[in-house]
Amino acid sequence: MSQPHVIIIGAGFTGVATAHDLALRGLDVTVIERGSMVCGTSGRTHGLLHCGGRYCVKDQESAIECIEENLILRKIVPQVIEPNGGLFVALDEGDIEYSKEWLEGCEACQIPYKQLTHQQVLKLEPYLNPEVKLAYEVPDGTFDPLRLALAFAATAKSNGAKFQLYTDVTELIIDNTGRVTGLKIWDRTKDERRELHADMVVNATGAWAGEIADMAGANVPVRPTPGVMVAYEERFVNRAINRLCKPSDGDIVLPQRRMVVVGTTSFEVEDLDYVPVVDEQVDLMLERGAALIPGIKNAQMRGAYMATRPLIGAGLTGRSVARTFKCFDHKESDDIDGFVTITGGKATTLRQMAEKTSDIVCQKLDVEVECATAETPLLSYRQYYAL
């Protein structure tokens, strides 16, 4: 008997990780993506493999997800990770004050940390602001966003998943019982329109999840929240440098190849398909980044860009919204069957988001196979193109 066919809309982090999870469980999977791989939020992510320290005071659920998944990703996809750790550094009295809550948060979320002396930290990261008052080492890392996604997609492909890029969903097909039974799609590589049948449709479109859900008359409380990031042409550090303060603008500097990337900000937009980079925010990244690494002030800018986070929550705004994720079975929330939405979350938790989503999909389809992605090393990302 043939396996149920699941269509996943969106080849961002959640889409590719869910494709991998479901394909590994033996389901027939097709991913539909209107652009190239991870061309929305995921590809433009900062690239921080979070240890959870950023969230351990106000959002411990996210922090615990991060440290769990950080350790798993290091094992299953080391090919795309700079595993050099991170620092949380206090620069002023306010930061020192915050460090008490932060240490309690780390303990509560079981995030390992180690205090370093002034001399130790400047020996490890000589470009760090010498005014540093307190420093803790944590197991952060950085990753290559496109290649992280490709590694999941490659492994999904090896288990039979199909990826159809540059293809828009023009309509969700809903039968007279109110069940989503497929999609109408527009393949822009050939300018062809056709229908695709599905036993289940997964809406994994992140910040755009509300727009896709709306096509089915369903509601998803996602709050698209862009932030700016700026890359500079000098690899000043080898670790992720976090300001030891409440999550705020420009509080993280990451190494990546020969660059450092400073991020990020938080604001809201109406039109998601093109979010311009705002000058003032670029200036702010320079100022905030230079507070952590003074050399950034004289470094050449490499690129400035925006990414739109999918935050979850009705009525809340910006950074006060939890960074955890949520999976919606629209049978329960809107009485629409055959349709599931996954949104929210963060790059670091992509595998766990996929696991929870796949559990719901399998339960709805009466497929009894356990998730195995935490123990399954991913294929080389280059296999995405070879398979």
Partner: protein
């Protein structure tokens, strides 16, 4: 960004399935300090939803957004409009050469990725092998080296720019040979054997177009010359080996 606005015409390569290509023109008001990719993305968002193009990271770490801009290979996410145009000019946007076109500005780079895999190029390397520019040598407290993502972002610009790749379809091409150089730095006898062939390290004509367009400090031309010396070195070594 500047407050100044320019009027620029984008002349964009269009091609669907196996139809013959044509060029569509889009007149845009741009900020000269915008990146070319921003303008291409806006053409898609506000003018023509049928356009296809590849992009991901928008800061030169992924290598997805390579295109030919006025005939020159560029990573469009870090190419300012003022670098390649003036107010009132036309900017021609085309897909990379020497790869099959999938549609519009999207090419199939699977030969590049499989070639990199074949020669054993490592996507992450110890920092000491690919030192990043900085005045102070990093010291790691624990034993071992820092690990970093490799310089090559597999963008394909060098292969598109290579005059030899245009005339010889079997040629490995600059990125793959530079990858072979990286893979063979600590031994890699198998890799050296693999590239010691007519379509490998000996096909290069030293045009250095690859190094000219490389956005990521790889300097493929120089790496190919180093690879040649390594190949000759290993040949000599194997000669002596057989005599002993």
């Amino acid at each position: 960004m500047s407050t100044q606005k320019w009027k620029v015409t984008f002349k964009v390569h269009r091609q669907k399935a196996n139809n013959s290509p044509n060029y569509d023109e889009y007149k845009l008001e741009v900020d000269p300090e915008e990146y070319v990719l921003d303008a291409v993305e806006r053409i898609w968002a506000f003018h023509d939803r049928s356009l296809t193009f590849a992009h991901a990271c928008h800061h030169s770490t992924c290598g997805a957004c390579g295109m030919r801009v006025n005939g020159v290979e560029k990573l469009t996410c870090i190419t300012f409009i003022h670098e390649i145009a003036k107010n009132g000019s036309t900017i021609k946007i085309e897909p990379l050469r020497n790869f099959p076109v999938i549609s519009d500005l999207v090419v199939d780079m699977s030969t590049l990725y499989s070639g990199m895999e074949m020669v054993g190029q490592r996507p992450i390397v110890p920092l000491s092998e690919e030192p990043a520019a900085s005045d102070i040598k990093p010291v790691k407290a624990k034993d071992g080296d820092y690990i970093r993502l490799s310089d090559c972002i597999e963008c394909g610009l060098c292969i598109s720019a290579c005059p030899v790749a245009t005339t010889t379809s079997g040629y490995f091409g600059p990125a793959i040979l530079a990858g072979a150089r990286q893979a063979s730095i600590n031994g890699g006898a198998e890799t050296l054997k693999l590239v010691d062939c007519a379509d490998g390290v000996w096909r290069c004509h030293s045009a250095y177009e690859c190094t000219e367009v490389c956005p990521s400090f790889v300097e493929p031309g120089k790496k190919i010359m180093q690879l040649r010396r390594a190949v000759l070195g290993s040949r000599i070594k194997s000669l002596f080996g057989s005599r002993n």
